[in-house]
Amino acid sequence: MNRNKFILQIALAIFLILIAALAGQLRKVQKEWRSAVRIMPGASEPYVVFDPNQVDETRENNAPEVLVKFRPGVSGDAITQITTRLNDRVEDEIESVPGLAAIDDLDNVDAESISAEYRALPEVEYAEPSYEISLDHDGGGFKHLHPNDVRFSEQWALDNDGRNGGKEGADIGALRAWVTSTGDDDIVVAVLDSGVDYNHSDLQNNIWVRPDNIKQYEDRELGSIEDVHGYNAVENTGDPMDENGHGTHCAGIIGAEGGNEIGISGVNWKVKIMALKFMNAGGFGTAKNAIEAINYVIDRKRAGVNVRVISASWGTRLPSRALEDVIRKAHEAGILFVAASGNDGANTDKSPQYPAGYDVGNLISVAALNRKDELASFSNYGAKSVHLAAPGANILSTWLGNTYEEHSGTSMATPMVSGVAALVLSKRPQLSVDELRSILLRSVDKIPNLNGKVSTGGRISAAKAVGAE
């Protein structure tokens, strides 16, 4: 090789190295710009609360965008190959959870799409966006965690800022509670209702799926039922798809996926909803089918499913000894039963509503509040027979057809309490059902106008129940 040619090759190599370095800088600048845009009010996430005086304590500008859990046995080399193929890179491995990695996207693709791309791979157990959140503090010095769900500002029950005639702070204290926990998908809540639209985009990631190690449901009379998401007691099948909307609404209050940039946030951002259908398209069902569905829940608990709460937003004036007995069996199985007190505007100490009126140790009966912290005009009450109140008027939640609707009723107040129960369990999974019930009842926010109306005299408090204040 002659001297001139050698110098030319050295110069070319230096030039290429400079180009590569410049490209790297540009990518970094691009990522920082994209991160900055994400938290600008009025930009792609207009409902994320952002105070320029506050520092986002939860993310760095170049934070990873997707959390991916690879299946056991997928090697580090295989993970690298997958991420390289998708033009991503492993930003960090989460050592405490084998197979879990924070993935940094190198394309201009939104986190939900990337998550979906990974979820479709056979090597992947689950994938979810690394939630974009912001922290701030309220006047009392408590930290707040705000989700970026685009209609969160309409969810007065979770954060009542006084708009639309509401009373500031008349909510369940979700923002303060979420600093402590946003839920855990190891906790299963059974929504015993008209079924659930398990395909709703704000619910589908939080719908229970029977694990491979749990055998499908066997009923002595009906035989084997392939229960993927729950059970349909109306038609005795494994498909609990909702045809009414009521169950889907209740499910969204408990666990619409939080921090996913769409729709609303449930009381739990992460949880598993077991869908149970015993009411038909009209929204009514029989005690016998309710009993069949509760029996299914108890069976699944005994089979190893961590179902801890049954949410029951329904009722009747007529008692059923058999229904009471099966709720007692749920108590023995360690399952909390949360029930709607009813919508007759009546005193249920004198005129009981069931199942809310049964004197069973695992039962919580729930009245409904409006956004002014007043007992809703329709809500039943009872100093002995109703335990606590929760927001239940003009509640926005998921509905059929991938939509959202506002509805009112003790039906809506009930899943608020079920959701808080799941949130408490996400922090303290070892709690017994009696301990859990006691915490929920003892931690209410006392409301003067509930004196003599509900036994605790208060509104459910997620913040106090999880120990955030």
Binding site: G282, G283, F284, N343, G409, T414
Partner: protein
Amino acid sequence: MALTKEEAIQKARQDLAQRLGVSESDIEAQSVETADFPDTALGASVADEMSGQMITPGWRIRLGANGETFEYRANQHQVRLYNYKSGNYRI
């Protein structure tokens, strides 16, 4: 299939005619108004029936025959006869 208000009124009229043993033409639609009912059974549960405790919009249909007034409740899913001889009936 979802019921329209007109279809609900017609079903109510047919039901009442049958119950009373009169001609449909003898039944007068006294009033039809939108209403919020206390539950998904429109506040007219039948025995052994559980219903969602959600305020449910629908129509209150008042029909007159034989000098009496009868109340039906309906929405897109159902028609019910309310408080007839101390009971409710799903049509």
